[in-house]
Symmetry: C2
Subunit: 372 residues, 2 copies
């Protein structure tokens, strides 16, 4: 029986466990939080820092493959493990590249991958040299997540909200749609691309819901798939690569960001597609044949976030109302404590028509709340 080591014991690891069970794969996870979502159902759950060299080295000693569910990990340890013959997927050099949005951007330029114009910025005072970039988005190179480390700069008045850290200033794209695609590649070089999903954002900058199929033309979808294929092929990437795209008002498809792992934008594949992103991740890192990614039906995915104003032991309101809806799948992440906007779970909705889908999305949002 194969043992997969996962750096990170959050919800992505937890859903990976549900998939891994079907192939008798043992999952061992490492997380600094003793109550992380993988705690109870991983074959082994180790508490420790993902950024500590010795902890990561020690964690990997008995695994067949080492993988991640979060990219903020000690990559020096991963490189040394790889040099000692441990199988590490995604490859440490890819995790390093993606950890730093500045290096990521340079990779796109070097490899002819369409991306928005940008300049590198190291401190707020440098912003004054780049007023020609406005309106723009400032992003810290390392450590941003879920909207943190990202600041919109509409005018020079916003410069004071910038970051005193190595950052990017990206020209704002005139966005028509945001879409995401998950690509997989195994060590044999087999590549498989999921259909595009549309990402609909709420004012809070956290994903409001995901829609599959995306309401884009075939040309836009084909272009995005072509870029995704080219990315994983050029990188010789192994594992799952989530790619977020902007489609601008002219129909140009440009890469916004990538993540070398299962991703929020792929959750609806569990029920919506033939193969789920979690199954595909396991297949890719174990060099198994990749699964068919076709849609089984239209689907939407709504994040379950901690309601504003509530912090404490989580209570799920509206469970019965949502369970009554056909084709609505609740996925909770076994997080005991809620706080405002904490990701506590997600809900996937399948339906034969988009109208039905939207009705159910509305019902889910109306009824389901995480309070304390």
């Amino acid at each position: 029986m194969k043992k997969v080591g996962v750096l990170g014991g959050g919800q992505l690891g937890r859903m990976m466990i549900q998939s891994a069970m079907n192939l008798n794969i043992q999952v061992k996870t490492l997380d600094p939080d003793p109550n992380a979502p993988c705690k109870a159902t991983a074959h082994e759950f180790i508490v420790g820092s993902l950024n500590d060299y010795d902890t990561v080295i020690d964690f990997a000693k008995d695994v067949d493959v080492l993988t991640i569910e979060i990219e903020n990990v000690n990559t020096e340890a991963l490189i040394d493990l790889q040099n000692k013959g441990v199988t590490v997927y995604p490859k440490p050099e890819h995790i390093q590249m993606i950890q730093d949005k500045r290096v990521q951007k340079q990779f796109y330029i070097d490899n002819n991958i369409p991306t928005s114009p940008f300049v590198l910025i190291d401190s707020i005072d440098q912003l004054n040299n780049h007023t020609d970039m406005l309106p723009a988005v400032m992003k810290v190179g390392k450590g941003g997540y879920d909207g943190r480390g990202v600041q919109v700069m509409k005018s020079t008045d916003d410069f004071s909200k910038g970051f005193e850290a190595p950052s990017l200033l990206e020209k704002m794209v005139d966005i028509d749609k945001e879409i995401a695609i998950i690509a997989a590649r195994n060590a044999n070089g087999e590549i498989s691309i999921f259909p595009a999903v549309e990402v609909v954002y709420h004012e809070s900058n956290l994903v409001d819901y995901l829609l599959s199929p995306a309401t884009i033309t075939t040309e836009v979808e084909e272009k995005a798939k072509e870029i995704a294929t080219s990315l994983v092929a050029k990188m010789e990437f192994v594992g799952l690569l989530a790619i977020e795209f902007f489609v601008d008002k002219e129909g140009q498809v440009i890469v916004n960001e990538i993540a070398p792992r299962t991703h929020n934008s792929g959750h609806q594949t569990i029920e919506g597609n033939i193969t789920s992103q979690f199954d595909q991740h396991i297949r890719s890192i174990l060099n198994l044949p990749l699964g068919n990614t076709s849609r089984r039906s239209a689907s939407a995915m709504v994040n379950v976030l901690g309601e504003k104003g509530y912090t404490g032991e989580a209570i799920y309101e509206g469970l019965d109302e949502v369970l009554k809806l056909p084709g609505v799948y609740i996925h909770l992440y076994e997080k005991f404590m809620t706080k405002p906007e904490r990701k506590m779970g997600h809900i996937t909705i399948i339906a034969p028509s988009k109208d039905e889908l939207f009705d159910k999305v509305d019902a889910v949002k109306k009824h389901f709340k995480v309070i304390a």
Copy 2:
């Protein structure tokens, strides 16, 4: 967070865990085998006898609901627990009734549920008084499972193969089809019935494959659903009831056997139907609204059995060939050791047409083998 106690830690418990995780339900299991399938992924895995009164009483002390995944458990303990206010679903009296096929048969007669003619037999020598029943099937009242405790009696020559135990002698039905239906009822009295599946048997008397939809007329399906509904309503059953039917050459639908739990004949609901039998079991015992049972697509389910001639640590042959087939889902049960015909897993196949379904069933059977 609710804690469900499950008597039995086998594959049915294991698949229940995969479902339960989605609602943050903690699963605690009891099994005599320290390497039972639930060992690694249950929130708590207790090793102990399901037939020992004190063990069962002690196991239930901190659970919100007590349920089963095998009916051979100490029902005296369950009755006492129920009397002390512990929620036990299915109800102990139903488990007791179903544990004994003789009592089960009497229940059908008393409640006007169609079943085959039978006589009660206590020893082999009594068989000579019932030659008018031939051809017949002799079944032990208690403890039979997967073909054990069942003997076909074509002529008086077969009497010597009978059982020296309280048994049934059932007139053999002129079977056209075998079908199965899973019914659910919650404590609110809500009833939900899955579509019928067709059970195709192999000469070994273990299920060869399951087919959904069953190739039966609408009338036969409606009749079976009517019987299923009537059964759970009359019993005031709470939980999941699996009902196996014979359809005879005249199109009569008669009940063969029932099981008060998730069942092999419901495995394909995981991918084939909107709600899986495991989700439905959890909903029913926690008195949550029951899920929609409609088919998402045609499906077939093949049991993965230990190949004859191999005993030892299991090796799965043909994994790659099967993983290459679109819409084919492998479910292994984390059983370390294989032996001839041991249930090691199952494979569900979905397809847009029955022809494609049969092609993939053939491919799965050809390639996938459990050896040692």
